[in-house]
Amino acid sequence: MTAIAHKLCMLGDFGVGKTSLVSRFVHSTFSEKYLTTVGVKVDSREIALPGRAACKLVLWDIAGRSHLDALNMTYLRGASALLLVADGTRERSLNTALELLMQSRSLLPAAEVVLAVNKLDLVEQWEIAPAVLAELRRTLPVHETSARSGEGVEAAFADIAGRLAA
């Protein structure tokens, strides 16, 4: 059965771990070194879905921004899903992720959206209170992830794949 390909864009402020999440998900690797992304890097991985055709996620790892400029909008065109990424240790990055979602809605009104709050391995330093995520879950699927340990990463991408295949 041929996998159905979907374009998924990673959106979030710089340094939240978008590239690391893709790297963990696609290559099962993690680098401690922060290397900023310029433009976009495209990767892909197929996910098997029980009882359904496999889903191929084409991951657009877009350079981190606090707002969407014309270039980012170019990258978003044709996307059917967004993985919003925030850094649990920087509360402001959650606001940024939500602002990016609102800005992208004009271009992608029907895209599936999942929020990954990353750096769970540093939970002792998190600024985002659990109650905030509990509230967000009422409107948005939320996953706590750690690109470093891999915790929650598969679940976050599988959640998107499942929603795309539904």
Partner: protein, 525 residues
Amino acid sequence: MSALDFDAIPERVESYLRGLFWQRVHPLLLCFDSEWRLRDIRGDAAHYGIDGEAPGRSVQLLRDLFIGLPSSEPQDVPFVELPNGHSAHLHLIPDGAAFHVLLLDAETERERRRAQQQLGHEEALASQAKSKAIGQLKHIRSELERQRVRLEEAHALKNALIATLSHEFRTPLTSIFGYLQLVDRRVGDEPELREALHAVRRNATYLFTLAENLLEYGRGDGAAPLLNPTPVDLAALLRDLEAMFRPLAEEKGLGFDVALKIEDPSEPLFDEIRLRQILVNLVSNAVRYTRRGEVTVELVWRAGKLAAEVTDTGIGIAAAHRDAVFTPFNRGGHAGSKGAGLGLSIVKRMVEQMRGSLAFDSEIGRGSSFRVTLPRAQERPAAHADAIAPRFWLQERTILVADDDADIAHLLEALLDDLGFSVRVVADAQSAVLEAMARRPDVLLIDVELSGLSGNAAVYKLRSRGYKGCIVTLSATATADAREAALRAGADHYLTKPLNVEQFVHVMQQAASAGWNGGDDAPDA
């Protein structure tokens, strides 16, 4: 030739420009039919990591890049990082039913931007971290300063106390005990003298006990006092007080009256040493600061409370010094008199320890009246072994224990079973999250230092999913920061290893009674 007229440029220049363009931009053109079948490939394919002979994977990547975009319209995707690490600008150019994909090198520009961006982002991240660290440092510094001031004050108080006590209590007591021995050898068998000697020794011993208690006060570590409630013979206590102070009062020409009213048939239960200390201090002050008139002591045992009133016709306390009289080393209204100025501060402390109240009226030149009310002491709390014994109140309570150390898990299971809990044990945080969400135990007891997902992360995940059950975390790290991090993640209680069994039992009792504080709302799965 106009500025934009390139038709007329010399052939030599045109050739140079073409060479420059190919050298810098490395154009690669891939021609496709409408079904993404590659029809032609021209240019520097190797520069982009594309195998010109077997370009299948690269073609697939290009298809992925244009997912969701119509090939009938021009598309421009700048700065795309290709599998060989090079960056390219990608253009899709429609050509009738077919189309072309043009790749232009963007590596130089990408690297220039990356260097700038990297610097900017690192600076921004460092600045955020710096702001956070400065905030934390300021907080730590002010906290340290506060602690330092408190410690200095406590240290000064302690030193002064010890120095004072050395002189005011121990030195004369040494002398008293020495002379007692001397007299004891010479007094013979005269019963009356023997009795008197015993009384002196008894009181000297009591004074020594008092001194020791005051030294304990001087240690002042804020630890909760251990009261020792025993049945108290109030009549005997009052007789002792009278025997102790009547001679002193009569020496000064003062009247000295005592009265006792027993209106409650139940047995008075108090920490007798502390009760004596309270009364001795109040009566001692009354006798000391009264030059003429009288001192009266009244004890009333009524409705489970002991009311003690010590009244004098002494020098009194000025209104301005009312608040200061309970401060150690402050003689306030009694300025110029002898003594350490400790008595009332000790009384206040003891009364608070015994959950009682203390009040006084005073008028300069007319005297003072101090009133102490003490509730009957509770029976001594049972030792932890006893506390564990009553299973009944925790029966039907469920607890989930998450610990990856089998020995610790077994110990916890045994302790909790003794407490009457129905215990379930898991060895990792992920299972704890799943089990807690599915079974909703009354209490989740989870180790912080679990391998893999940490206990704190598990607690956070539960709370961020609306889990409202009581959570107790257990950690080998006994620092305030670790405790704060665990509570911030959502724990209700933080216990440290090695386990203090009494504290453990106490916390488990609290946790069991808290249970599901959010009512019956099921957590979101």
